[in-house]
C-alpha cells in the first residue's frame, strides 16, 4: 500500500538523499530532491546533469544518493537515463529482472532549458518511461551566477550585469513547461517546494504514467538570488502567490491549475527580498517592474484561459 502523503507517515521512510551533501546552507535543490524521492513508491534509478546538485552530492568517492545514480555530462541527463531505461526493458523481456523500476533524470535550468534541451526533447519524443525533473533556480549558479534562458527578465547576473546602460537581463525567460507540453507527452507539471503536498502528488502522477513525464520545480538559490539563507520556502511561496510561478499540470492534454491564490499578490513582494532585482526599485526604473508585472499578468491570464476544470 502506498504511504499516505502525510508528514507523520512520510517521516518514517528512510532518507534517499543523505545529509553530508555539500549544497549551500538553505539551498532549495536538496529540498526539492528529497520531496521527489520521498513521494516515490517505486525503486528508483536516477541520472543527473552537471550542475550544483550533481557536483555537491557526489564529490570524489562520496555520494549522498541511496539510489543507483549516474552522471555523465551536462547535456545528456535525459539521453543517459533513456539508455538505462531501454536496457531495463530489454532485461525485463528476457526475464533477467522482474521488479518494476522507475527512472528519473534531474537537471538544473542550465542543464535542462539550455544545454540538455535537445537530449530532453529527444527522450520525451521517443516515449521512454521516465520522469524528468528540472530544479529551476534561474541561472548557472554553480559556475558563478551566469544568466540562462530561465533567468527572469531584469535579473542581475554576472553575464547580464546591471550597469548604466543595460539594466540586468534584457530578454524574457523561456517558458519550458509549455514547450514540454507541446511534446504531447502524457504528463507535464509545474511545482514549488513550499507546496509540498501538491509537489508530491504531481511526482506520484508522473511516476505512475507509463511513458514520459516532465516536472518543472522552482528551486530558490540564496547565493544567486541574493537573498537570506532562511527564505527558500518563503520565497517559493511568494512566487506562487504572485503568480510568478503558477502551480498547474497538463494531464493528457488537459490543463488544470492546481492552486489558485485567493488574492494575487503584487510581484514586488517576491522581487523585493532578492538582491538580483534591487535596481528595479531604484527611482527611474519603475518601467522594469511594470514590464515584468505585465509579462506575469499576461502569462497568468493565458494559463487561466487554457485551464479547463478549475473554478
Amino acid at each position: 500500500m502506498a504511504t499516505p502523503l502525510k508528514l507523520k507517515e512520510l517521516s518514517k521512510k528512510p532518507d534517499l538523499l543523505t545529509h553530508g551533501h555539500r549544497m549551500c546552507a538553505g539551498c532549495g535543490a536538496p529540498i526539492v530532491v528529497k520531496m521527489v524521492l520521498m513521494a516515490s513508491e517505486y525503486p528508483l534509478v536516477a541520472s543527473n546533469a552537471t550542475g550544483c546538485l550533481e557536483v555537491s552530492t557526489c564529490i570524489s568517492e562520496y555520494t549522498a544518493w541511496k539510489i543507483p545514480w549516474i552522471h555523465s555530462a551536462f547535456e545528456n541527463a535525459a539521453a543517459t537515463i533513456s539508455g538505462v531505461e531501454t536496457m531495463y526493458r530489454a532485461w525485463k523481456k528476457k526475464g533477467k529482472i522482474t521488479e518494476k523500476v522507475k527512472f528519473i533524470a534531474f537537471g538544473g535550468d542550465g542543464g535542462t532549458y539550455d544545454i540538455g534541451f535537445q537530449s530532453l526533447s529527444g527522450a520525451m519524443e521517443r516515449g521512454h518511461d521516465m520522469v524528468y525533473i528540472c530544479y529551476d533556480n534561474g541561472a548557472y549558479m554553480n559556475t558563478g551566477i551566469q544568466r540562462s534562458s530561465a533567468t527572469p527578465r531584469g535579473a542581475d547576473t554576472t553575464t547580464s550585469p546591471v550597469g548604466s546602460v543595460v539594466l540586468g537581463k534584457i530578454q524574457r525567460r523561456k517558458d519550458l513547461t509549455r514547450i514540454m507540453a507541446a511534446h504531447n507527452i502524457p504528463y507535464v507539471a509545474q511545482a514549488s517546494p513550499s507546496h509540498w503536498l501538491d509537489l508530491m502528488k504531481k511526482v506520484r502522477k508522473a511516476l505512475d504514467v507509463d511513458g514520459p513525464a516532465f516536472i518543472n520545480i522552482l528551486s530558490p538559490c540564496n547565493r544567486g538570488w541574493r537573498s537570506k539563507t532562511d527564505d527558500a520556502i518563503a520565497l517559493s511561496k511568494l512566487a506562487v502567490e504572485t503568480c510568478y510561478w503558477p502551480l498547474y499540470e497538463i494531464e493528457n492534454g488537459v490543463t488544470r491549475i492546481t492552486f489558485k491564490p485567493k488574492e494575487k499578490k503584487p510581484l514586488e513582494e517576491f522581487l523585493k527580498p532578492q538582491g538580483r532585482f534591487k535596481h528595479m526599485f531604484a527611482p527611474g526604473n519603475e518601467h522594469l517592474l511594470k514590464q515584468l508585472q505585465e509579462d506575469i499578468d499576461m502569462e497568468w491570464e493565458r494559463l487561466n484561459k487554457e485551464s479547463s476544470t478549475e473554478k
Binding site: 546552507a25 568517492e61 541511496k66 520556502i233
Partner: protein, 95 residues
Amino acid sequence: MKKWNELVPGAIILDAGNAVQFKTGSWRAFRPQWTEENCIHCLFCWIYCPDMAVKTEDGKMTGFDYDYCKGCGICARECPGKKGKKAIVMVEEGK
C-alpha cells in the same frame, strides 16, 4: 582520501550514502534551538530542512542533528509554534 589505484574502476561508488562521513555541521554560524513545549509536531521543520538534520521518531519532532545542520534557519522561519510562540529560534554559535 583513497589513492587513485584504490578506487573502484569506472568511477563507481559502491557505498551508497557514504557522504554521511562528511560532517557539515561545522559550517554553522547560527544554531537552531528547540523548545519542546511550543512544538505542535507539524513536522514543517523536518520536511523543509535541506540537510535532513531534523530528527524525528515515530512521526514526532525530537531535535536536531548538529553534526549536519548548516544553520540556514529555514526550520525556524517556517515553524508555526504554539500560540504565536516559535518552537525553534536561531542563536549565534558560541553564545
